[in-house]
Amino acid sequence: MLKTKSGSFYFVILGHHDNPAFEVEFLPAGKAEPKDDYHHLNQFIAHAALDLVDENLWLSNNIYLKIVDKFNEWFVSAFVTVSHLRFIMLYDIRQEDGIKNFFTDVYDLYIKFAVNPFYEPNSPLQSSAFDRKVRFLGKKHLLS
């Protein structure tokens, strides 16, 4: 199960019904798109990590939960917003600070997005602007 890719990130925003509302993958520059097979693995891991996120969020006063789970070479960090949305990041190279900053910035972005009266909470985020900005933040905090 050991995969050779490294330095990649998978980010997912989870709604209140534990449903993925937004997901994005960051790959280091120069890395080819991974094979399609791996996309679902990210989701599998993120899904299983939800258990630990839900356990850990009661143990901490912080909204950034740091590493909550590990799966093979993957680390899972989480961030729980005030409204109990959960951000989950899967990554294989420790980068605590970058991830924390990324989470914080995405949270800001999300809040701006969520005040849009046409956005129904927990529904999949399909805004291309949001996607673009999250990708930018990813480049800024994670891949640099």
Partner: protein, 1311 residues
């Protein structure tokens, strides 16, 4: 050098978790010099006494002081033991050097002891050691033996003098140590205190120096030659010391610092900042025998580190084993588990970062072994209950071990069906070789990680057993602590394993469980992936229905590639083709994955259709399949219900209550991402207050959740989201069908047509698409879609086209035939039974408009016209209806003419005959008079019914006619007033008045304009005829007025209209009446009738109208004598002359008539009234005169009047009444019926006259006859003279009044 370490080891091998005392133990080393025998004798007591009392240990760097017990090792002093320059060791040399002597003899001291001491001191000085103590043991026994001994103090003083300059405390005396006396005890205590203080001082000093050295060394880490391993050894020494002092926390900190330092280096290495020494750790991994946690110190690995030969795994393993040991001392086994998991992950990461070459599977082995080792170590030191309550900490390791064993199994070919091949076996052998030999400490144990791994890799069966055990255990643990998602993931792996092992029946439940969880939370990719596995599983299990269902879901899954989707679609289609031959067997699948209903369109749009009508229905189905699918048929199951509410069936109601455009949209079910559906209900919280019953103060406040049972329910066990395959098929009689449809991917339009049968409501229930034996069923169509079929009875409506019908002119009437379920055939006709007074005018061709019943939404072209015939016979008018299908409406118009029947002359005209101004006003106030109406009832026979329909048509007579008799002297005129009440204008022509009795000597001369006259709406036209008679006129004149009329607007009428006629009669007074008494009686009887509410009109015919003039009243105002004109304010005389024009007539025979055979008199009352207040009547304004009944008999009355205004003033009115004196017979009658008498006058007089009388009274009139105040008294009565009997010849004359001369203001009134 090993000695202290072994000591240390023996210390730490104490049983774990003995409760620690408040103080700690320092085990230090002292070297002993001097007299060995002496020490040997003292040692037992010393070693026993030393740790007894704790000492406070003050520490540097602000660390909290601690109480510690001191313990010491005593070794023979040797020079080699002293630390050499640059020695970093801390515990390997003695801290304190003690010289023991028993000498009490100065000689001996001088001879040997002093030299020995000097030598000892020099050695110490040479090594820079300042921690020393000289102990002089005194012995009383010895003292006694030697008499020449010097005073005791001398030896001690000598020693102090010789060696302890300024440090006199470095020399202590121990008196009689082996005795049991108080002195001995004191001496011991002082000695021990000193020893402890010095030991601790020395230790603290050494420790501080060591820490400083260590830090210095650490700061040099950037220097090229720095070695982590060397530094490791130094810091570990410190850790050992802390551990020895039982300062495990501090010891652990040392290892954690080492751990962090190393990790940081690895991370930096990954970032390109490599340190030379790290390359030592980058050697390829050759051994992966896992962690060793059973020994407190893994000396083997420690030596490797010391020799700088350790690999990364060795270093990590050793470091962790030490951390583990310390954590267990600290009773934190769960942290061990947690750290172990972290360690295993980070080791894997570090190896990757350092790009260490690792044989495949080696790390898996290492991780697996390590996991099990940690778990066994923890289990070894905890009881069951502790473990059970801390599963959360352990389960990660279990899971990791499971994961690694699985990947090992896959790697070594133990999962495949065929078993491992040679390559796999080779790999297995290599992996096992890397494990090395089993360690001696577990070699004899029945179970060890090593044995387990070896066994698991030995055979397919063993692997399966171990893997299943591990997986099951992990799943159970995860489930028990509520981490169901993680359990699902392990379960899914297990399912995959089972699938590989060709036991799909075992895999299915795991896959279903996982799928349910992913579906519930809307994880699309895991759903797809799990479904794919489930499909394979179901295929193997031969679950046709489930497999097809899953296939249909996958075929519509956009997360799969096009090829995969097509594959699954083909699976369904090939199944459908393959089993087409076996009829009867059908597979029912839910439709939503196959196709989705988007919208539905009815035609007619209101979804209301009459019985037998055609209803078409077009639905848009969005096919989810990747390829076009040929569907055998699409059926819609329809539920039929008879609406009980009868009004709902009417077409009108249905039209109103349907969607206007007939399109029903269905919400898109399930977006591509299956959204979470089991949203929990909101918390229902409420406050709870409990008050103490005594003083009502609040004792408890709280919040309770009222729907806990809903919220805390396990989510899994909630409603299953996957539609159960067993969809109930409805088998209704009513079905809409559409055969052979090809559903292209995407939207398709499917049209259904049906002929409506029974009336009622039809609800679309199920939608079903059939592909061979595969039925895709949408079990419920929601929102509810209905169409209604209604049946209608044929109906005929006849209504006027205008607001009201006018009699006498042709009027249009609209016939509306709603055919309903009846089909009008050629030859069907409406039979109208003729009414005499109403004609149906049939002319030319008649056109009927026929249109479909469902009006309102139908386009205009659906209506068309048809010609129909009307045949009239005497009694029946037959309207031949055009052939019309059912549920259509035939509309046509017919002209009818109501013949103007001569309205019965009502007596109304008689009263209105006197054109008195106030009365007219009254009429106007009463509002516009209503038109007289005539009802015609037409009975119509309809072809669809055996019963006749009776229709009433109401016609309004447009005119109202009144007549009046006018007099001019003795000349009589008849005036007829025609009032147009309608909204139309008419032309009147050929007015004619005839005497119907055709009295011979009567002539009616018209005085009218001969040309046609226009009569506008709401206006009147008057006609006047002079009545001339030559002989005595008949008692009554019967007249008929007729006038031709036609609507003024209409250019030309097709038919000639009948003239308007009006019949009336004018009765003369020549009739011979019966006896007066009789008349009165008659009158009374009449009044009784009146009071009982009937017979009033009769009065008119009974009360005779007299048209012959009897009296001529002439009034004249004369100016005062001598004046030429009347002046205002001056009295003028009013001369009234009443002249009788005829002799005794029949009309005169009443109570007023008095006299005898030839000479008759009648009593009249005159009255002068001036309503316009022009005149003031002075004196009597009325009076009774006795009028001789003879022609030309004249009575003159003279009165004085005063004009009040100047100008031409009309003369005051003079009224004449018949004065009927009271009669005794009459009066007695009245007594009997007093109610009559009360208003006796009002019967005869108009109410207005009463008003006049009262005004007269106010002017001082004597006239008081009308008042009812003399009740019971006999009263004369007044009777108005009928119209025509009195002619006022001075009516209309005016007299000129000039203003009085002394008036300053000239008032002129012109009338």
């Amino acid at each position: 050098m090993k000695a202290p370490l072994q000591n240390l080891v023996s210390t730490v091998m104490r049983p774990l978790f003995t409760p620690l005392s408040a103080a700690f133990c320092l085990l230090s080393t002292c070297s002993c010099a001097g007299e060995q025998n002496l020490f040997t004798s003292i040692y037992p007591t010393l070693s026993q006494q030393l740790p007894r009392e704790p000492m406070e240990w003050r520490r540097s760097y602000g660390r909290a002081p601690k109480m510690i017990h001191l313990e010491s090792n005593f070794v023979q002093f040797k020079e080699e033991l002293l630390p050499k320059e640059g020695n970093k060791a801390l515990l390997t040399f003695p801290f304190l050097h003690i010289y023991w002597t028993e000498c009490c003899d100065t000689e001996v001291y001088k001879a040997t002891v002093k030299d020995d001491l000097t030598k000892w001191q020099n050695v110490l000085k040479a090594h820079g050691s300042v921690d020393w103590l000289i102990v002089v043991v005194e012995n009383d026994a010895k003292k006694k033996n030697k008499t020449n001994i010097l005073p005791r103090t001398s030896i001690v003083d000598k020693i102090r003098n010789d060696f302890c300059n300024k440090q006199s405390d470095r020399c202590v005396v121990l008196s009689d140590p082996l005795k049991d006396s108080s002195r001995t005890q004191e001496s011991w205590n002082a000695f021990l205190t000193k020893l402890r203080t010095l030991l601790l001082m020395s230790f603290t000093k050494n420790l501080g120096k060591f820490e400083d050295d260590m830090r210095t060394l650490r700061e040099k880490r950037t220097e090229p030659g720095w070695s982590f391993c060397d530094y490791f050894m130094v810091q570990e020494e410190l850790a050992f010391v802390f551990e020895m002092l039982q300062q495990f926390e501090d010891a652990l900190v040392q290892y954690d610092e080492l751990d962090a330092l190393f990790s940081q280096y690895v991370v930096n290495f990954g970032a390109g900042d490599g340190a030379n020494w790290l390359t030592f750790f980058c050697q390829p991994v050759k051994s992966w025998n896992g962690l060793v946690l059973r020994k407190p110190i893994d000396m083997e690995k420690r030596e490797l580190v010391q020799r700088r030969e350790a690999t990364l795994l060795d270093l990590r393993s050793y470091l962790f084993s030490r951390q583990c040991t310390l954590l267990l001392f600290l009773q934190r086994p769960w942290e061990v588990a947690q750290r172990a998991l972290e360690l295993l992950h980070s080791c894997v990461q570090e190896l990757r970062l350092l790009e260490v070459s690792v044989p495949p599977g080696a790390l898996d082995c290492w991780v697996f072994l390590s996991c099990l080792e940690v778990l066994q170590r923890i289990e070894g030191c905890c009881d069951r209950a502790q473990i059970d309550s801390n599963i959360a900490h352990m389960v990660g390791l279990w899971s990791y071990a499971t994961e690694k064993l699985k990947s090992l199994g896959y790697l070594c070919g133990l999962v495949s069906e065929k078993g491992p091949d040679s390559e796999d076996l080779n790999r297995t052998v290599d992996l096992l070789a890397g494990l090395g030999a089993e360690r001696p400490e577990t070699a004899n144990a029945a179970q060890s990680p090593y044995k387990k791994l070896k066994e698991a890799l030995s055979s397919v069966e063993a692997f399966e057993k171990h893997y299943l055990d591990l997986s099951q255990a992990t799943i159970e643990m995860y489930t028990s602590i509520g981490r169901t998602r993680s359990a699902r993931l392990v379960g899914k792996d297990l399912a995959e394993f089972h699938m590989r092992k060709r036991s799909p029946q075992k895999a299915e439940s795991y896959l279903q469980g996982a799928l349910k969880s992913y579906l519930a939370e809307g994880w699309a990719l895991p759903v797809t992936h799990t479904r794919k596995q489930l499909a394979e599983c179901q295929k193997h299990l031969g679950q046709v229905e489930n497999y097809l269902q899953t296939s249909s879901l996958l075929a519509s899954d956009h997360h799969l590639t096009e090829e995969e989707r097509e594959y699954f679609c083909q699976e369904i289609l090939s199944f459908a083709r393959g089993s087409a031959d076996s009829p009867g067997h059908k597979v029912v699948l839910p439709m939503h994955s196959f196709a989705q209903l988007q919208d539905l369109l009815f035609d007619p749009p209101n979804a209301v259709v009459h019985a037998g009508g055609i209803l078409s229905l077009e639905m848009t189905m969005c096919s989810q399949m990747p390829v076009p699918v040929q569907v055998d048929q699409i059926t819609v199951n329809v539920h039929f219900s008879i609406e009980k509410n009868s009004y709902r069936k009417t077409a009108e109601w249905l039209t109103k209550h349907k969607t206007p455009n007939g399109i029903i949209h269905f919400p898109a079910e399930g977006s591509p991402l299956p959204a979470a559906q089991n949203s929990l209900p909101a918390l229902e919280l409420s406050e709870v207050f409990e008050r103490s019953p005594s003083d009502n103060s609040l004792s408890t406040a709280g919040i309770i959740c009222r729907n806990v049972h809903m919220l805390l329910r396990r989510q899994e066990s909630g409603s299953s989201l996957e539609v159960p395959s067993g969809v109930a098929l409805e088998d209704g009689a009513h079905v809409l069908k559409c055969s052979s449809v090809t559903l292209e991917p995407g939207a398709n339009r499917v049209a259904f047509r049906t002929q409506a049968k029974e009336p009622g409501t039809y609800t679309l229930r199920q939608l079903c698409a059939t592909v061979g034996p595969v039925w895709f069923v949408l079990p419920h169509i929601y929102p509810i879609v209905q169409y209604d079929v209604y049946s209608q009875e044929p109906q005929l409506h006849v209504e006027p086209l205008a607001d009201s019908l006018l009699a006498g002119i042709p009027q249009k009437v609209k016939f509306t035939v709603t055919t309903g379920h009846y089909t009008v055939k050629n030859g069907d006709s409406l039979q109208l039974s003729n009414v005499e007074a109403m004609l149906v005018l049939c002319q030319g061709e008649n056109r009927a408009v026929i249109y479909s019943n469902s009006r309102g939404t139908v386009q205009a072209e659906e209506s068309h016209t048809a010609v129909f015939r009307i045949q009239s016979s005497d009694k029946v008018t037959s309207i031949g209806l055009p052939a019309t299908p059912a549920y259509h409406v035939i509309e046509f118009e017919l002209e009818v003419l109501s013949l103007p029947s001569a309205p019965v002359c009502s007596g109304e005209s008689a009263t209105l005959g006197t054109p008195e101004p106030p009365r007219k006003q009254k009429d106007r106030q009463r509002g516009a008079p209503c038109m007289v109406t005539t009802d015609h009832k037409v009975s119509i026979d309809c072809p669809w019914s055996i019963y006749s329909t009776v229709i009433a048509l109401t016609f309004n007579v447009p005119f109202r006619t009144t007549h009046s008799l006018l007099s001019a002297g003795t000349r009589k005129y008849i005036q007829v007033c025609v009032q147009n009440l309608s909204e139309l204008d008419f032309q009147l022509a050929e007015s004619n008045l005839v005497d119907t009795r055709d009295t011979a000597n009567l002539q009616l001369t018209p005085l009218n304009v001969p040309s046609p006259q226009h009569i506008h709406s709401k206006q009147s036209v008057f006609f006047v005829w002079e009545l001339k008679w030559t002989q005595e006129p008949p008692p009554a004149l019967h007249c008929q007025f007729s006038v031709g009329f036609s609507p003024a607007s209409e250019e030309r009428l097709r038919i000639s209209l009948k003239p308007y006629t009006y019949q009336f009669q004018v009765e003369s007074f020549f009739r011979v009446t019966a006896q007066p008494f009789l008349l009165v009686l008659e009158n009374v009887r009449l009044r009784r009738l009146e009071s009982s509410g009937q017979g009033f009109p009769k009065t008119r015919s009974l009360w005779h109208e007299c048209w012959g003039t009897l009296y001529n009243v002439k009034a004249e105002v004369l100016p005062p004598v001598g004046a030429e004109y009347c002046r205002t304010g001056s009295l003028c005389s009013l001369e009234v002359s009443i002249t009788r024009l005829a002799d005794l007539l029949e009309v005169d025979r009443d109570e007023a008539l008095t006299g005898s055979d030839e000479y008759f008199c009648t009593k009249l009352m005159y009255e002068v009234v001036d309503n316009s207040s022009n005149w003031a009547v002075c004196g009597k304004s009325c009076g009774v005169i006795s009028m001789p009944v003879a022609a030309q008999a004249t009575h003159r009355v003279h009165m004085e009047v005063m004009p009040l205004f100047a100008g031409y003033l009309p003369l005051p009115d003079v009224r004449l009444f018949k004065y009927l004196p009271h009669h005794s017979a009459h009066s007695s009658q009245l007594d009997a019926d007093s109610w009559i008498e009360n208003d006796s006058l009002s019967v005869d007089k108009h109410p207005d006259d009463q008003l006049d009388c009262s005004s007269m009274r106010s002017r001082g009139s004597v006239y008081s006859a009308s008042s009812g105040e003399h009740k019971g008294l006999p009263m004369p009565r007044l009777q108005a003279l009928p119209t025509g009997q009195v002619f006022n010849s001075s009516m209309g004359t005016q007299v000129l009044v000039i203003p009085s001369q002394d008036d300053h203001v000239l008032e002129v009134s012109v009338t």
